[in-house]
Assembly symmetry: C2
């Protein structure tokens, strides 16, 4: 199907849809469950399951460090991991615009397959629809994971005295996307990554993981403010402790952007008892996507729901969730 593009007929449900499914999807995602092509996939379950969904509408569809396919797996896998679940199964729903090149679609599909393999999940069900448009591509993934006994990781569990850790530099995904969209030459790469290995090391360590949250849309400040509200605690971070790469810092300075509000796709916040902080940090730094992990603050009970950033000279400013558009959109 070289040089071909998606046409409305690929969404008919008839022979053109069949060809598309077999030549593009079935080949890349092949596994025993999916290959049965039933209305629903039947798989072994577990006593407690975690379920989540995310849609991906990023433009451009390919960018330095990844593409919409890799994103669509990372986003959903990471959401499962944030509850301490072991990601197992993904479904994927493609909404394709007329004019999308089949070669490009194949790149995204292979990228999904590779990322799923890295993340340890099977793609077991899918759906494809075609709409009028100009070559766009939207992907929804839903994920099912198994939750081991006694695991209780939740936004409400943050406790006074806990340490706040982040797994790496902030803003890379957002800056990479913006630099593509604004045609600014940089070497910044998206951080899109599945955090399966990091989280499985953390859960296996016996550390009391109170809260995990991936730092995506809205950025670190939005995520921490939401956690402060959910746990009714005060979150305090030190401005200069938040890791930001020199390139992203330069890019942000140029455009007047705040890395605290910029999205990432392979970074998490962990809230752990202060006594476990060093060990958690070591584990994160030894993990594939965690070399820049850092301790960035602590939790207190002064003012429930508040988030503060301490400046280098000892001042404090209040941070809120992202207001309005905030900064140029990437999704």
């Amino acid at each position: 199907m070289k040089n071909d593009t998606i046409m409305m007929v690929h969404g008919s449900g008839g022979n053109a849809t069949n060809t598309l499914i077999h030549e593009i999807f079935a080949d890349a995602f092949s596994n025993d469950v999916l290959n049965r092509m039933e209305d629903a996939a039947v798989v072994p379950g577990s006593e407690r399951i975690a379920v989540t969904t995310d849609s991906f509408v990023v433009t451009p569809l390919q960018f330095r460090g990844g593409d919409i396919g890799r994103l669509s797996v990372c986003g959903t896998v990471n959401d499962l991991l944030m509850r301490g679940a072991v990601p197992k199964y993904l479904t994927c729903g493609f909404i394709l615009e007329e004019g999308l090149s089949l070669d490009q679609l194949q790149i995204f599909v292979r990228s999904m397959a590779d990322t799923a393999a890295e993340a340890g999940v099977q793609i077991i069900a899918g759906d494809t629809k075609v709409i009028e448009g100009a070559g766009g591509c939207y992907i929804n993934t839903a994920g099912v994971g198994f939750l081991p006994e006694n695991v209780d990781i939740s936004a409400v569990n943050a406790a006074a005295g806990d340490a706040i850790l982040v797994s790496g530099t902030m803003g890379d995904h957002h800056a990479a996307l913006l630099s593509e969209r604004m045609s600014i030459q940089t070497e910044i790469r998206s951080d899109a990554a599945p955090l399966t290995e990091m989280v499985s090391r953390l859960t296996a360590s016996g550390i009391a993981l109170h809260t995990l949250r991936d730092v995506t849309r809205g950025g670190l400040a939005t995520v921490l403010k939401e956690l402060a509200l959910a746990s009714r605690k005060t979150f305090v971070i030190r401005d200069n402790a938040v890791p930001v790469s020199a390139e992203v810092r330069g890019f942000c300075g140029l455009l007047g952007l705040d890395p605290l509000y910029m999205g990432n796709e392979g970074k998490l916040v962990a809230v752990v008892p202060a006594s476990d902080a060093d060990r958690a940090l070591e584990i994160m730094q030894a993990s594939r996507y965690g070399k820049d992990a850092a301790l960035i603050g602590y939790i207190s009970e002064e003012e429930p729901g508040e988030l503060y950033a301490e400046t280098e000279i000892g001042g404090r400013r209040v941070l809120d969730i992202l207001q309005g558009e905030g900064l140029p959109r990437i999704c």
Copy 2:
């Protein structure tokens, strides 16, 4: 938020997104799991689970007999039911185009909530993205169901001698959508319906259900041809046994359409041993959405993978899956 419309800022991940989620989604879908607003929902599982997904891109968004919200629940619930699973949980991913009225979105969301309640499923996770456009709305749902022990309903299980049943009239959904799109005045209503009650009665009856399949995109002929191929059997239906309402028949006659290739959203095909056919038919006809259920044919081993329609005068024609566009598109 009366008279307001979706704007790009609703997809920012910040305060506008929060307002949208709380005022439109959380209120309608409210349940203990969803209300926790975690990255993933944690729920009790089961030894065997069924998982499926479907995206909905129908236009117009509202039509006689339903709307995209009702469709998005029926499609996924029915896919779970077709494996004999008890539908339990749904996720929903909304991709909203700028300009969609919030009043209209609220109608779809309430429709989803009502249909989910009717179908016996909980909506436990969701996601919202906003894209440029002209007021469109796309919904993806993924579903998780529990599969009871010993249930084995599959496309490959159809056996020679089995009876083929359909649960009602063919083509209603497709004809309803086309009449809206072509501004032809008819009383035809979409058949969009969750078949939870019908399937739970059938599975509880002890009848050996070999295959269930919902008759959606591609229509009855496409579905039966796919089942013939999967089971390597011959499917033979009698043309005049296939239920089609007088109105849909008239509409199709007018436009030169074949109801055998038209989509439905609340109908299923059941393949059962001939000895159970009468009882299965009785159960279907006594179910809420099955009063027009009919025995339409039988399965033989003459020619693996073939589908035939027997005409009234005793002739036979070969039916294939939908070729090309086939007929005006509805999704």
